[in-house]
Structures are given as C-alpha cells and as structure tokens.
Amino acid sequence: MLSFILRRLAIAIPTLFVIVTISFFLMRVAPGGPFDLEQPLEAKVMENLRRIYQLDRPLHQQYLTYLAALIRGDFGPSFYFRDFSIAELFAQGLPVSMRLGASALALALLIGAPLGVLAAFRQNEHADHAVMGFATAGITIPNFVVAPVLQIVFGLMLAWLPVGGWNGGAVRNTILPIVTLALPQIAVIARMTRAAMIETLRANHIRTLRAQGLSGVTVALHALRGAALPVVSYLGPAAAALLTGSVVVESIFAIPGIGRYFVEGALNRDYTLVMGTVVVVAIFVLIFNLVVDVVYALLDPRVRLE
C-alpha cells in the first residue's frame, strides 16, 4: 500500500510538470499582456514594468525562472492584485473555499446517499420517482438560477439569512452558499447511489443475506459497501472541484474565495495568478484521484494496488 502511494506520488510529479509547461506556454501565446490598459501606458513606464516583472527576457528563460521558483515553493507576485504575492492571496482565499466546499460535500453525501438507497429499495414506486425527479431537477437547474432564488426567498422575503457577504465566516453567512453548492451534488450522488445499489442488490451475496432472513438495514449496509465504488470514483474529481471554489457561487454571494481568481486572472493576463491556480487545482485533482484509488482498494478486496 505504502509503496503504491509513493509510486503514484512519483508519477504525479512529471504529470504536474507537463501541466505547468502546457499552461505556461498557452497563457503566453494568448494575445495581450498584464499591463495592457484601455489607455496604453507610456513606453518608458511599460518598459520599466516589464523589466521589473522580468517580462522582457526571452520566453524560455522566463519559463526556467518560473520553474525554479516553483520548485522552491514560490508562486511569485501577482500582476493584477498589486502588493500581493500569489501565496498571500491563496492563504486568504483557499481556507474560505475549502470550508465551503467541504461542508457542501459533506451535506451532499449525508442527504444524497440515503436518498439514493431509499430510491433503490423502492424501485419504480412513488418514493423512487420523487427522488429521481428531484435529482434530475438538481442536475438540470443551473446554480446561477438557484442562487438568486434562494437569496430572494431566504434573504429578502423571509429575511432569515444574509443575502451575501462572508462576515468573517459566520455560520449564518455560509448556509446559502453551501446549499447552492450542495444541491447539484446531492442530485448526482443520489442518482449514482441508486444505480449502483440496484445493481448490488441483485448480487449473489446479497441474496444469501436475504435468504438468511436478515433485516433490511443490515442488508442495506452490506450492499452499500459494494454500491459505494462508483460513487467514490465520482467523489474524487467532485471534491477537487468543490474545494477549489466556484466562480458563480463566490461572485453571487460575494465570498472572498479562490474560485473567482481563475476568471479574473485569465481575463487580466495575470500570468502568475493563473499559473498558481492551475498548479493548486492540479494538485487537488491528483491528490483526490490517489485518495479514490486507496479508498477503492479498502472497499473492494478484489482490487489490488500494484
């Protein structure tokens, strides 16, 4: 197990290197630069700025400089948010996004999995249709529709919760964003759990359990272990996406997370910010894929980690 994890981490480094290289050059090929304003800067000012940020050097040299800094763990200064380094921006934003994402994921699992199990046990009955209808709605209604509706209903009409803002992370402020983030995940998890559960319930070992006259709950717990496999492999990428923040939710609820950095960074050609986000997201994806494989092996003894 340990050697498997170590080997996977060793493979992750070249993958990360390829990702960094591709994004670095793609970003630089894009037209425009970080200091292009509506009114062009004076040539001399521009020249000085480019020299300070070392943009006047040949591209391959910049690339090597960036790689060297990255290996030391230095993401460099932000081009757009002046006076901030990328590390500082992430130190502020990442905990916020991760807290929202983790809560949403936990909520989605707590609600979605039981709903899916319920639907599987009551296949083709009213409860099943209700759950599947809800799940389809959760997948199809975009979160930028859900968010304003929640704001209107709970923020303005009922006036129970604040409409937006972070307020130092007060619990009241996090409820609406977490629900918005969780809804589509609840839907997907419920659907996948139902499908996997229906398949597992037909398996021989479950038939044996039933034949032995065990209660429904015991059967469900045994079936859940097999049914969890596809859900776990979905949760890996989903967790990576949730923990690194959502542009839509963070901009609608005015939350200082890192989700919006990506869009802002790319639109303003903030090279270091975009690169930093790419690296962080890629690390999350790689880590969670590894976690998924390990959990997979723990759940299913047929899977051998080689």
Partner: protein, 373 residues
C-alpha cells in the same frame, strides 16, 4: 408418396436497433421527452418568424412590461400616454374616448398647434398616424382620431423593451445549435481517438491514454477562458473548440468498448481476409461502439448547453444583440425582484430542454443496455 411438409419460416430476428427502438417506445418518459424536444426545436426554428417581433426591435414605450395574454397598450394606460404625447405637442388633451381600435381626443392650446408635431403619435409604439377630424379656432383646437397599435407580449419584455418570447426562441436556436455543434465535434474526435487507441493497443494505447489523463488534470475552465481570449466574440469557433475539449470522456468510453470488440471473431476474420486497419475500424469497431456513445451524447448536449449558459453568465458567451438562454437567465437573475418573468420564462425553457434530454438519455440507456434483458 411421402408428404412434403414445409419447414416453418424462420422467425425474423430483430436487430439490436429494432429491439432498442421498441424498448424505447415503451418508455413513456422517453417518448414524452422526444416529443417535447421535437416541439422545442420546431418552436425555436419557426417561432421567431411568427411572433411578429424581430428579436432586436426595441419598444421604448414597453420597457419591462409584465407577461400578459391581452394586448398592449392596456386601456387604463392610454389616457396617460396620450397626455404625455400631448405635452410634447405643447397642447392639452381633453375628451379622451378610448374605443377598441382608436382614441378620439381634442387637443387645445394657447397658440396654433404645429401639426408637424403630431408625428410624435407616430413615433410612439402605441399609436398610428392621427387623422384630423376638425380644425377649430384657427388651429388652436384639433379633434383627432388616433388609431391604436396593438402589440402582444406574451412573455413580457426585457430591460430594453424587446419582446421576450421572440428572444427566448432565438436564444433557443443559439443554445441548441451550440449544444449540437460542440457535441458533434466531441463525437468525431472522441470516437476516432478512442477507437484508434483501443484497437491498436500496446504502447500506442498507453501513450494516447496518458495524453488524455494529462488533459484531464488541466482545469477545464482554464481552457475555456483561453479560447474566449483567442477566438473573441466568434462563438461558433469557440464552441467548435469547446467540443474539441469535451471529447475526453467520449474517448475513454469508446476505447473501453473497442478493447472488447477487437477480440471478437468477426474482427479476427476481417483481419485474416486482409482488411486494412482503417477499414476494420470503420466497418466493425465504430458501429459497435455506438450504443454507449449515443447515451453519452444525449447527456453531453445538456452539459454543453449548461456550459454555454455558465460562460454567458460570466459575460464571456454570446454577445448582444444575439442572445442565448444563458444570457437571458443571467439578465433575469439580475432583475429577479422587479421583473421575475425575465428569469421565469427562459429558465423554464432551458430546464425543460435539459429535463427532456436527460430523460431521453436515461431511456436510451435502458433501451440499449443488453444486460437488462
């Protein structure tokens, strides 16, 4: 003499596709979805021609009017509208009598009324060319018969006074076209890449799938924003490119299928007969992967429509005066308090389409899944 009995005719076998069609037609949700999708497409294609409003026509007098089955202008709003125009003509309107298709009124003023100013009636969206019935007191008192221009805004109008029904239908054209276009590109790339990787196998397969893995770990939105930067406002090109990104899942699915298909005896036979690799791929491999591919396509179309909406929400999508469901919804979300119809109608259209596509995908999965027989 022995009797010759005719052997009973063999029962005609049903192909996978006939079988799938029968099973699909038995699934009520899938059939309803098919009908809904057909109606939606038809409405978006010919609907904008029948609403009587161009999608970019601005009605300045009807900004953000609520959805209504009755025609505009409303009878109770006419006197105020007449007074507004009268004050621009520098006269006072009196004796306003509203009938079904016209208004009779009298304009009085201190000085003779400049009849050229009556063009203000024409210019408004509510009235036609006024007819002068009587001209008294040297032109200080005019009796007019002004025809009313009736307009219907079944879905209301947007913040610029454009008919929302027409815009929703036009937006549907754009959203559906983008969904199909990008899915088509993803289909072509994904199927050919996956089939090639799976069929060739070995080193080539490992290398090709390694590339897919790397592309997977790249944040998707990074690509999309770069594409927006490159292609700017040309959304057709952009969505060709989005399709060129969305093929990764398709390639994996097709590769998995191909791995099992290539061990079949008919492929072996084709190889023995000397059919070229390309020929085997086209004739034997690709057609047999279509089942899962079709299912994935019905789920990819809504995914791309949602993606386009998401981009439009960020302001990176389709540009004015063209529109898409995503643009309309993000406009609507912004004015949800004052004008809820601006969110409700486009969102209903979008969600209905996505619902139908999802149910159709589920139905196809049930119909094509051979394990379920």
């Amino acid at each position: 003499m022995s009797e010759i009995t005719l052997a009973p005719l063999p029962v005609a076998g049903r192909s996978l596709w006939q079988d799938a069609r029968i099973r699909l037609m038995r699934n009520r949700a899938a059939v309803v979805s098919l009908i809904v999708l057909a109606l939606m497409t038809l409405a978006c294609l010919i609907g904008p021609l029948m609403t009587g409003h161009p999608h970019d026509r601005v009605y300045q007098d009807y900004v953000r009017v609520p959805a209504s089955i009755d025609s505009y202008p409303k009878a109770e709003a006419i006197p105020a509208a007449v007074q507004r125009i009268a004050s621009r003509v520098r006269a006072i309107a009196s004796d306003i009598a509203v009938s079904q298709d016209g208004v009779r009124l009298t304009l009085t003023s201190q000085r003779p009324i400049d009849q050229r100013l009556l063009v203000y009636f024409d210019r408004s969206d509510q009235f036609g060319t006024p007819k002068i019935l009587a001209n008294e007191e040297d032109g200080r008192r005019l009796s007019l018969d002004v025809p009313i221009k009736r307009q219907r805004f079944w879905f209301g109008t947007d913040a610029n006074g454009r008919d929302l029904l027409t815009r929703t239908l036009i937006a549907g054209r754009v959203s559906l076209a983008i969904g199909l276009l990008a899915t088509g590109v993803a289909l072509v790339i994904g199927v050919s890449y996956g089939a090639t990787a799976g069929y060739l196998g070995g080193r080539v397969d490992m290398l090709m799938m390694r590339i897919v893995d790397v592309l997977y770990s790249l944040p998707f939105i990074f690509f999309v924003i770069l594409l927006v930067v490159f292609f700017g406002r040309n959304f057709i090109l952009m969505f060709l490119a989005v399709g060129a990104i969305e093929w990764l899942d398709m390639a994996r699915i097709v590769r998995g299928q191909t791995l099992s298909i290539k061990r079949q005896e008919y492929v072996l036979a084709a190889e023995a007969l000397g059919v070229t690799t390309g020929g085997i791929l086209r004739r034997h491999v690709v057609p047999n992967t279509l089942g899962p591919v079709i299912i994935y396509v019905t789920l990819l179309v809504p995914k791309i429509i949602l993606l386009e909406s998401f981009l439009s929400f960020l302001g990176l999508g389709v540009q004015e005066p063209m529109t898409s469901w995503g643009v309309l919804i993000s406009d609507g979300a912004r004015s949800i308090q004052g004008a809820p119809w601006m969110l409700i109608f486009p969102a209903t259209f979008l969600v209905t389409t996505l619902f139908a596509l999802n149910f159709l995908g589920d139905g196809l999965r049930d119909a094509l899944d051979p394990r379920d027989r």
